[in-house]
Symmetry: C2
Subunit: 240 residues, 2 copies
DNA sequence: CGTGGCCTTGAACCTAGTCAAGTCTAGTGG
DNA sequence: CCACTAGACTTGACTAGGTTCAAGGCCACG
């Protein structure tokens, strides 16, 4: 029989007790269905900063839910330059861009110590047969991803550097808040270079824009630590 | 009883005889399942140029498959400026960005005479229960959309004007070809202004870049008519 | 065959990129 | 614990690609 430490361990890693369930696949599932989902999920040891979850070109097997930490996904163009596709926080799912292929189209790397739940896709497909709400939730999450990507397309097509950075910070703020963290102060897990890459601007422009936003009294910057001083103005500047 | 003209009409509009089935939801379905899908699809009179299929904010009810013509989808930002999200050709599906909401997040407008198949989403969800392959195909199509959007993000974040336009033309060429049309010469259904808006550059830059690509011998431009003279070079320039 | 919108080209301007140099900071090893 | 160092961050100066403004030409459609 399991000792209490092991038991506690198992419970902590159960979808049913997961604080992120409301953001993730279990949303709206009953406890029996959550158990079924829980059964197929693999939980591995944490990734350390810099570790890779999967590489572009690896065989596609699973989607992943992030439990803690941050991941970035990126792809390489033909010149070998990196393009950062996104930063992913707890409660979010990744791996949706390869479901009709046999290989991941991006690389996923830990920005800090990160734990994930692996959801083998073939087993998930089996569950979709039996659990209509799970099917609906998966489609909803993918729909939301499409919408988010299209918002990002608008940012990249239409916004200037200030609007981009403001939108980035507001977006992060909202997502941290959804995870139960402060919406007003947080630590960036990514470098200025990575932010710049993601936002389609130069590293130097990113630095200057941080300085500018601080001079305007919208934010306080202390290296990676950001404090949002005037969220409404920042939001307005972001030109959503 | 139906007369022969009406009968022919019905046959022409059946998924089973549709030439675009291989690009659309029926892919890999057996004839019985295709019939079931066909049953729920509504086919309305063609849209004329400028007609709207749905507006941003309209209640979300259906996804649409394009049978003929071209649609553009766009959204308005807070300043009332339009951002074109995409141009959609026969065999493609639209309406995926609103499935977890109750309202469309974009406006769909016909670029020319256009016919669509309306697929009511609640009825589609019922079919997903019974037809595993349909489920898989829907997920595959959404996955592909995510991948395409992420490719567009890379274009907007990293490419200069020449690379953007080259990528745009190559992309159209491939999609026309998938529809059985020439990959080397085609008519653009959109204005220079719309291309510019979509690619995140100015109308004037688009014009100048068309001229430049023609001077380089990569394409021939005659108003809306484009001939691709050197696809490999154009493809290389696009920096995929 | 007239007209409005689309397309094209020129010229001036400006935002953001590039190059360069110096500072800061987190992580390492003595 | 502290000194060291590599990489991250910041700022300045200059440059360039693309935007904006302006004007004229070209269709397509009534």
């Amino acid at each position: 029989m399991l000792n209490s430490v092991a038991l506690k361990h198992v419970e902590t890693l159960h979808c049913q007790s997961c604080k992120l369930a409301a953001l993730c696949l279990p949303l709206a599932l009953n406890s029996q269905d959550i158990s079924a989902l829980n059964e197929i999920i693999k939980r591995e040891r944490p990734l350390r900063k810099g570790d890779y979850l999967f590489h572009q070109g690896d065989p596609f097997t699973s989607i992943y839910a992030i439990r803690s930490g941050t991941l970035k996904t990126s792809s390489l163009n033909s010149n070998g330059e990196e393009h950062i596709i996104g930063f992913h926080l707890p409660g979010e799912l990744i791996g949706f861009s390869a479901m009709d292929l046999n290989a991941y189209t991006s690389t996923a790397q830990a920005q800090e110590t990160t734990t994930v739940c692996e959801i083998p896709f073939d087993q998930l497909e089996n569950l979709l047969e039996r659990i209509p709400k799970l099917r609906r939730q998966l489609i909803h999450i993918m729909s939301r991803e499409i919408r988010d990507d299209q918002n990002m397309m608008r940012l990249l097509a239409k916004k200037n550097a200030q609007e981009r950075l403001a939108a980035f910070l507001i977006n992060l703020s909202v997502r941290f808040h959804a995870n139960g963290y402060s919406a007003h102060q947080f630590r960036l897990s990514m470098t200025r270079q990575e932010i710049a890459n993601y936002l389609g601007i130069a590293t130097e422009t990113t630095c200057r824009t941080f300085t500018f936003l601080q001079q305007q009294g919208l934010i306080q910057v202390q290296g990676k630590y950001i404090q949002i001083m005037d969220a409404p103005s920042l939001c307005e500047l972001s030109n959503r």
